[in-house]
């Protein structure tokens, strides 16, 4: 077949897909009536609270490793003193949101896709429709809002734990004074550094939940279909987070 026609078709299919996901996201976000606080609370617990350990551990080790790297790299041009400031800025602006988002993507996008996919193959979603309940409002809306609300909180907690990871390494093995380390960490941080990271967190939360819900709803039949949906959800969420991070960083800091 004509390669121009082939690429045209692929582009149109891609654009149709993007449009469908955008409409799905809008429907999910604004399907607020009836408001279901119990479902929202359950998802906040699932997505937020239960992700806290993995996000906290990731942030702790990342902050600690970052301190070691900056200290060793900075020593090449006598700039080891910048460790606290760079760890703080690096965690808050970039590593906290991105790594936190990726860890939530691994844990949450897969579980949402598997749960909704299983519901689809066992006809539970059809059952919702026959019980006069829109599956978008019941399944998608609470997950989208819960992820958008909780991931920024996770990012904030991760930022603090990451900085503390750097402090731990800085004071225990790099010879920094504890009070001076903390003072330097805060001194160079600007409020926009923190706010931009939290906004990124909300965007990444939305990407994670949309990926999980979209692939779950589109899941094929049987265990294989659910497995494929789960894998696709995690891959799409991870790539989406990295791409969105590049775009948002450009918008916020260029």
């Amino acid at each position: 077949m004509n390669p121009v026609r082939l690429s045209g078709r692929a582009t149109l299919r891609g654009l149709r897909g993007v449009g469908a996901v955008a409409l799905f996201t809008l429907r999910g976000l604004f399907h607020l009536r009836p408001f279901r606080p119990r479902l929202l609370a359950a998802q906040i617990f699932q997505i937020g609270w239960l992700s806290l350990p993995v996000v906290a551990l990731t942030a702790l080790f990342t902050g600690a490793a970052l301190a070691l790297q900056i200290h060793s790299g900075g020593a090449r041009f006598q700039a080891s003193d910048v460790v606290p400031a760079i760890v703080a800025i690096g965690m808050v602006r970039e590593l906290g949101p991105v790594l936190g988002g990726l860890m939530v993507a691994a844990r949450v996008a897969s579980s949402i896709a598997a749960e909704i996919g299983t519901m689809k193959v066992t006809e539970q979603i059809d059952a919702l429709v026959t019980l006069s309940t829109d599956p978008i409002g019941w399944l998608v809306t609470p997950r989208l809002w819960a992820a958008m609300l909780t991931v920024p909180v996770l990012v904030g907690v991760g930022d603090i734990i990451g900085i503390m990871g750097g402090w731990l390494v800085g004071t225990q093995s790099l010879g920094f004074n504890s009070a001076a380390y903390l003072a330097n960490s805060w001194a160079y941080l600007e409020s926009w550094d923190v706010i931009s990271g939290l906004i990124k967190g909300a965007a990444f939360g939305l990407i994670v939940a949309v990926s999980g819900c979209w692939y779950g709803m589109a899941s094929g039949r049987g265990a294989e279909g659910v497995g494929r949906a789960t894998k696709s959800a995690v891959v799409a969420a991870a790539v989406g987070i990295l791409a969105a991070n590049f775009i948002l960083t450009g918008l916020f800091f260029e």
Binding site: P34, T118, M119, T122, E123, Q124, D126, A127, L128, V129, T130, L131, S132, T133
Partner: protein, 236 residues
Amino acid sequence: MIRIEGLRKSFGTRTVLDGVDLQVGQGESLCVIGQSGTGKSVLLKCILGLEAPDNGLILWQGRPLDRHARPRFLDSFGMLFQGAALFDSLPVWQNVGFRLRQRMSDQKARGIAIKKLARVGLGPETADMMPAQLSGGMAKRAGLARAIADDPQVIFFDEPTTGLDPIRARRINGLIRGIVEETGATAITITHDMDSVRAIGDRVALLQDGSIAWQGAVADMDDAPPLAGFLGKETT
């Protein structure tokens, strides 16, 4: 009560329903039979609005079942799914009282759910169990309780005895017959189990090659040549 005229549905190049005409009256129990893959479930999904037909009409109480009429229709029917389709995240009573909880207090909905569970032979101790704790037969009965929880005018049964041993299948058939007679509801059952047809049907329709090949009273089906294959008879 429900009339289907010239219903067509294709998936890609494969035509599944090719002009289905069918009617079921108030309080009647119709069984739709057919081999696997003949489109029985697709027909059911088209009636329920889970699949959009390519062509044809579905009339409910004389009016087309369009976007405006469908919400009222959805509120007046119950459905027993093949695998029960209970919501895994909710205890049994919340599954049964799912629709009731949208318009009454939890306490009242729970009371009704427990009564409906009793109607299908499940004790009050089942109410707080999770669906994963139920056996296949119990899940089916809980699904039946959910189907009748809101006293529907129409009840759909999708392969009600699939996956059950003969004793449990007979029990489910008996329950369905009893409930249909007791409530006066219209029943449409999709099945390929002829014991179910005899136990719960007034009328039977054979779906073959995308359309209704034969329909008539259950009492007449033994003499219907198109049903010979289903009844295990030799055709001459």
